[in-house]
């Protein structure tokens, strides 16, 4: 277990290092006198060294330290991603386990294919349309000023504002969760150990609970990086669709206004989150399955 964790930690550290080099290269674009290969490479090295000392430069738009500016916006994005992740688990887990069984999956497959073919912005707009017309909720797709309320602040109306972005991100994540669970559940259903355990006198429930469930959870954890990537991608679009001022929305504005320090920092943080989820997921999955083997 320790050897595996150390290997994964090394992988995680290398991934972060690579993301830092990429971020330094983007940030170097903002450096003065970085025209030409040699000055640009020098600027990358300087930016990399500054990043290592947690100096991420200043935002060209606000003049604030990039890390401070991101600190103001990141909590909203993290809240959106976490809440979306919760919805993804609530919706995706039962679907994945249900569709792990062949006949139900075959019946539902065309519908899921159609739903998962819809880009996130189309899904977000469709949800907003449904909420406005069926539930008569206020929606923020056309009213930026209405979305100024922080996500999850008090009041029924702000909850209604918050719910649509969370649902959009959650449904995008649910597709990834159900896929991971469905694959691992189908694989677990075919495992040879089931027959052996039945002959040993274990009930179906015991087999599921003691042997199959840890494998299914481990399979889900092993895909944590992929699920996080899906949630982050969905958050970028969702913040734009629903006028949420989070880090993802800041990224779009930073690129449009050529604020490369901010762009670099947001990319680094997003890549870091994906690597972290992947690392924790893999280690968790390994720990679960190992426990099971003992």
């Amino acid at each position: 277990m320790l050897k595996f964790a150390a290997r994964q930690a090394g992988r995680f550290a290398l991934g972060l290092l690579g993301a830092m080099v990429l971020a330094a290269a983007i940030s170097a674009i903002a450096a003065p006198r970085a025209h030409g290969l040699a000055p640009f490479l020098e600027a990358i090295c300087l930016r990399f060294w500054a990043f290592a000392q947690l100096d991420f430069g200043r935002s060209a738009i606000s003049g604030l330290a990039a890390i401070d500016e991101l600190g103001l916006r990141m909590p909203a994005t993290l809240a959106l991603v976490l809440a979306g992740g919760g919805v993804a688990l609530i919706v995706g887990a039962p679907l994945g386990l249900l569709f792990g069984a062949g006949p139900i999956r075959r019946a539902a497959a065309p519908l899921i294919q159609i739903v998962t073919a819809a880009p996130v912005f189309c899904a977000g707009l469709a949800l907003a349309y449904g909420a406005a017309h069926l539930l008569h909720w206020p929606v923020s797709v056309n009213a930026p000023e209405m979305s100024a309320t922080p996500i999850f602040s008090r009041g029924a109306q702000s909850l209604e504002f918050a719910l649509l972005p969370v649902l959009t991100v959650g449904l995008a994540g649910a597709a990834a969760v159900q896929l991971a669970l469905r694959r691992v559940a189908a694989q677990s259903a075919r495992e040879a150990f089931r027959t052996g355990l039945k002959r040993m006198g274990l009930s179906a429930l015991e087999i599921e609970w003691v042997y199959a469930v840890p494998r299914v959870i481990a399979g889900l954890l092993a895909n944590a990086g992929e699920i996080m990537l899906t949630l982050l991608s969905a958050a970028v679009v969702t913040e734009w669709v629903f006028h949420r001022s989070g880090a993802a929305d800041l990224f779009v504005k930073s690129v449009a206004l050529e604020d490369w320090n901010m762009t670099a920092l947001i990319l680094f943080i997003f890549a870091g989150l994906a690597f972290l989820a992947d690392f924790l997921g893999r280690v968790g999955a390994h720990a679960l399955v190992n426990e099971d083997k003992k």
Partner: protein, 274 residues
């Protein structure tokens, strides 16, 4: 888990039927794109052909938008722009991702692993952000190239890992033992790999690039008027779609059908990332 492994959960005849539906759909879309100028009642971007925001009727089957443009004609033109740009982007994704990834797997170990690591870092960043960054660093004109490059890291990683596994297979060991050179083995593997997987890889790249391109257009980084693609059409319809649903619904439907056909043709599992 690869598409092949996952696909084993589905009956082979059903898989084949879905693939056929996907390719047939893509074929029909290609015909519609080729004949878009003929099929559309009005040229692209022509306003005032009907009343503002008229609901679907016999005269305008998909209704009209805020500028009195025929939504059916605009959707056909938008689909045409989307498909052409996505096709270009998919070519970039296949070349930079698929082909380069396959070659990198046969480079000297350190070089191959370094490239794999670098692409792994890029693949850990949402492709949408990479595309926006590439457009920000170049110009909106290069959005198809940017979308192709953004989809490339994942295609690279997949191709690299597949060819790397091939190079460790028994047939590769036998080939090396019989004195076949590394370059000949690579050429043969690439030939067979491309013959067997090109259609799937191309459809997968088309699905990925279409999603990225339409999303960057929706965010304002892609197509520029008068060449409006479906993403830009949906973005423009956002202001009115709550009371004129047809302005966004038909372009969105066309986009979903295009992506769905590409996904089916690529034999993607439900919910699998293209």
């Amino acid at each position: 888990m690869s598409a092949t492994e996952s696909a084993s959960q589905t009956a082979p005849f059903l898989r084949a039927a879905l693939r056929l539906i996907g390719w047939s759909g893509l074929g029909l879309i290609a015909v519609a794109v080729a004949l878009s100028d003929f099929l559309a009642h009005f040229p692209a971007g022509v306003g005032g052909v009907g009343p503002m925001l008229a609901a679907p009727s016999a005269l305008h089957a998909f209704g009209t938008d805020l500028l009195g443009r025929d939504v059916l004609s605009e959707t056909l033109h938008g689909l045409s722009v989307t498909v052409v740009r996505a096709f270009l982007g998919a070519l970039v994704a296949i070349a930079v991702g698929g082909l380069f990834g396959a070659v990198a797997a046969r480079l000297p170990r350190v070089m191959g692993l370094t490239l794999r690591g670098a692409m792994g870092v890029l693949a850990a960043i949402p492709a949408l952000l990479l595309a926006i960054l590439a457009i920000g660093l170049s110009a909106r004109l290069y959005a198809p190239l940017a979308a192709g490059l953004a989809a490339a890291p994942l295609a690279f990683v997949r191709a690299h890992d597949r060819v790397d596994a091939l190079s460790r297979s028994t047939h590769a060991e036998y080939a090396r033992a019989t004195g076949i050179s590394a370059s000949t083995l690579l050429r043969r593997d690439l030939t067979y790999e491309f013959r067997d997987t090109l259609a799937t890889v191309a459809a997968r790249a088309l699905a990925a690039v279409t999603i990225i391109l339409s999303t960057v257009s929706f965010l304002g980084f892609g197509a520029t008027p008068p060449a409006r693609d479906l993403g830009l059409m949906i973005a423009a319809a956002r202001a009115n779609y709550l009371h004129a649903w047809w302005t966004a619904a038909f372009p969105a439907l066309a986009l979903v059908v295009l992506i769905l056909c590409a996904r089916l043709a690529a034999d993607l599992d439900e919910g699998e990332r293209p």
